[in-house]
């Protein structure tokens, strides 16, 4: 019974175990499961062990028992991209028309539905070609509105809801905010912060634990045994460098900054710098990247044990990274290829990490991400990625 259902859950990446599946059947035998509603509650509480998967569960349940659409990442990304295009078009129709190589006036004549259809056709075209020039077309990943998993699927209609209330409930997708895939959002702030709090170094075992010492001593019938505990070492220094240039990073800058700001008490020192796309001669201390800059070479003055964390999509034209005059901004001076600067920083600090809001599965499609990831250990800017990054950064000094 329900074997199909079980495998559908498994195939979508929910860790469901055969034991729990048997337990579910035991629950059915108890006679407590008498309706589809009951089955929904019972199967969820027995099979699913984390609220992160509740959303996927809801979707599978609705699909299995009512035939609603299953999550299809590619289609959803397409929808997201289209939505972004629409928003962009509303704000700045001219640039969009120019980029897509069509007449603005012609676009203006279309109704919204026609416009969507038009975009869709264009995107399908584009996917085959992948000409790096219009990088916001084709790669759903760089779309700032998020990607599969997190958003409810922009323009898609959530199927039909009639009769069965459990299905209706499942269709509502109450748990989509808890879903673990998808980039970091304001809603996940608290959870992410807890991940960051783990960023505490461990000290040497040099603190006497009085209670344990007494217990051990008594247990030894009076022969003294002293028990030592770990003391906390100096707190960490952290430098955070954020790519705040352009719309592609816009949704994340605020989130990341607030995140680290909240965690400030955790660190001995937190410095925030800004850059655009990649680092040239200078890093900027003001978000506008105009006034206060600091030469990259001066970074050697910082404690090498400082944790250097970069946040950026690392997506750019390869020459921006490789050419000596790669910068696309006048105020950024570049006397050395950016990639050399990055290597220099990676060598300066013992522990570095690059957090990337682009989903990891899209990384292979952007050459510069690959190049940067060879220099800095790269992690997804998601809850899981953040956790991995923290683990990486917290491990011993070497």
């Amino acid at each position: 019974m329900f074997i199909d259902f079980f495998y559908k859950l498994k195939n979508l990446g929910i860790p469901v175990s055969p034991t729990s599946f048997l337990t579910l059947h035991k629950a059915i035998e108890t006679g407590l499961v008498m309706s589809l509603d009951d089955f929904y509650t019972a199967s969820r509480s027995i099979l699913i062990k984390s609220e992160r998967y509740f959303d996927v569960f809801d979707q599978v349940f609705a699909h299995h028992f009512k035939g609603a659409d299953l999550p299809d990442p590619s289609e959803k990304e397409l929808a997201e991209t289209i939505r972004f295009l629409l928003e962009f078009w509303l704000k700045d129709p001219k640039t969009l028309a120019d980029t897509m190589g069509i007449d603005e006036n012609q676009l203006a004549k279309l109704t919204p539905e026609e416009l969507v259809e038009y975009f869709k056709e264009r995107l399908k075209d584009q996917e085959g070609r992948h000409d790096g020039g219009n990088r916001w077309i084709g790669t759903g990943g760089t779309s700032p509105v998020g990607h599969s998993g997190y958003h409810p699927g922009g323009m898609r209609v959530g199927g039909i809801s009639r009769n069965k209330s459990a299905v209706k409930v499942a269709l509502e997708r109450r748990y989509k905010d808890y879903s673990k895939r998808g980039p970091l959002s304001q809603a996940m702030m608290g959870e992410a912060l807890k991940r960051l709090r783990n960023l505490v170094p461990e000290g040497p075992k040099d603190k006497v634990n009085v209670e344990a010492s007494i217990y051990q001593t008594m247990k030894n019938a009076g022969e003294i045994e002293i028990v030592f505990d770990r003391s906390l070492r100096d707190r960490l220094k952290v430098i955070l460098a954020i790519d705040n240039g352009g719309w592609s990073m816009e949704p994340y800058v605020q989130t990341v900054q607030t995140l680290f700001d909240h965690a400030r008490a955790q660190f001995k020192e937190l410095k925030i710098f800004y850059f655009h796309n990649t680092i040239y001669d200078n890093l900027w201390q003001d978000p506008g990247r105009r006034r206060d800059h600091m030469n990259v070479e001066e970074f050697v003055r910082f404690d090498p044990q400082t944790r250097f964390i970069l946040v950026g999509d690392a997506s750019m034209a390869p020459y921006e990274l490789l050419a000596r005059d790669g910068t696309i901004y006048v105020q950024d001076r570049s006397t050395m290829p950016s990639i050399e600067r990055l290597k220099f920083l990676a060598d300066t600090f013992a522990r570095t990490a690059w957090l990337n809001p682009v989903p990891a599965k899209m990384w292979p499609y952007t050459p510069t991400i690959d190049m940067v990831a060879k220099i800095f250990p790269m992690f997804e800017l998601t809850l899981d990625g953040l956790e991995e990054a923290v683990n990486h950064l917290a491990t011993s000094h070497n």
Binding site: L32, K49, S50, F54, Y175, K194, G222
Partner: protein, 282 residues
């Protein structure tokens, strides 16, 4: 399973507003004799649920508050070496020093096992402990027995307790642990549910106050970049504070005049942010 379980079905208690879904899950877990793991934002009533179950089933409640430094053995039993050493030196207590059993004290889990009646065992904030603690504890709860190594004796549960485990999700629990529990996530109540909850706590509350307070509360919760968002617990305390202030007029809440912000926001950063945001909107 047995008719006994079905007859003692959980339907809610006097001070706890139960949603249907949760009641079902509690009943299924009791029937399957599996621990129920509850997760959710702090202040959504995870601990209250265990109290409510104990109250409605008429069982005594044993609470184990997990601490980060806790060893499993502390939850099971304690060997009071200090008293024994003292007794062996001075010998005036009347206890038999050569019998170690006299110096074994039951911990919370041990007490739930040795109790003559069925108990509700609440293991609160399991996520504070390390994974070893969690896994070893589940072994004990699975087998319903543990050994006291000092006296080489096995303690078996006389009655299998109803086990409720709560977690604030600071860390993820290990897979084997999760595999042995049923799971439920208590979502934050929606405004309508909140109305019921407030009604239960303040049976004769002024309607305008309740309405306005809940509305203002949800608006405050939605404020961005707040680290610790106020929860049900804070709302209840807040309403209590406001109704004890004779000068307070609930109509002002509507206008964005919010008193006692400190009751709602307990982190200084959050408090400062709330004050500035409110000042801006007024």
């Amino acid at each position: 399973m047995t008719g006994h379980h079905n007859s003692s079905r959980f339907t809610g208690a006097s001070r706890y507003v139960l949603d249907n879904e949760l009641a079902k899950i509690v009943n299924i877990s009791m029937a399957l004799e599996m621990p129920l793991l509850l997760k959710g934002e702090p202040g959504t009533g995870k601990t209250m649920l265990a109290h409510a179950i104990a109250e409605s089933l008429g069982m005594p409640l044993v609470v184990l508050n997990v601490k980060s430094s806790m060893k499993l053995v502390e939850a099971l039993y304690q060997y009071d070496t200090l008293t024994r050493l003292n007794d062996s030196r001075f010998g005036d207590s009347g206890r038999d020093v050569s019998n170690i059993e006299n110096y074994i004290r039951m911990g919370k889990i041990g007490r739930a096992f040795t109790s003559d009646t069925k108990t509700v065992l609440l293991i609160d904030e399991i996520d504070k402990a390390d994974t070893d603690f969690q896994d070893d504890m589940l072994d004990v709860l699975d087998q319903m027995e543990f050994d006291i190594i000092e006296i080489d004796k096995t303690v078996r549960a006389k009655n299998r307790p109803v086990i409720i485990i709560t977690s604030n999700a600071k860390k993820d629990l290990s897979d084997p642990f999760l595999g042995r529990c049923n799971f439920h996530h208590i979502a934050f109540p929606d405004p309508r549910m909140m109305q019921d909850i407030i009604q239960v706590h303040f049976p004769d509350i002024d309607n305008t106050l309740a309405q306005n307070a809940i509305m203002a509360f949800y608006k405050l919760r939605e404020m961005s970049s707040i680290e610790k968002r106020p929860a049900t617990r804070e709302l209840i305390n807040w309403i209590r504070a406001m109704s004890s202030d004779p000068d307070f007029n609930p109509k002002n809440l509507d206008k964005g005049d919010i008193p006692f912000l400190g009751v709602l926001f307990k982190k200084s950063q959050d408090f400062a942010r709330a004050v500035t945001t409110l000042a801006r909107t007024r």
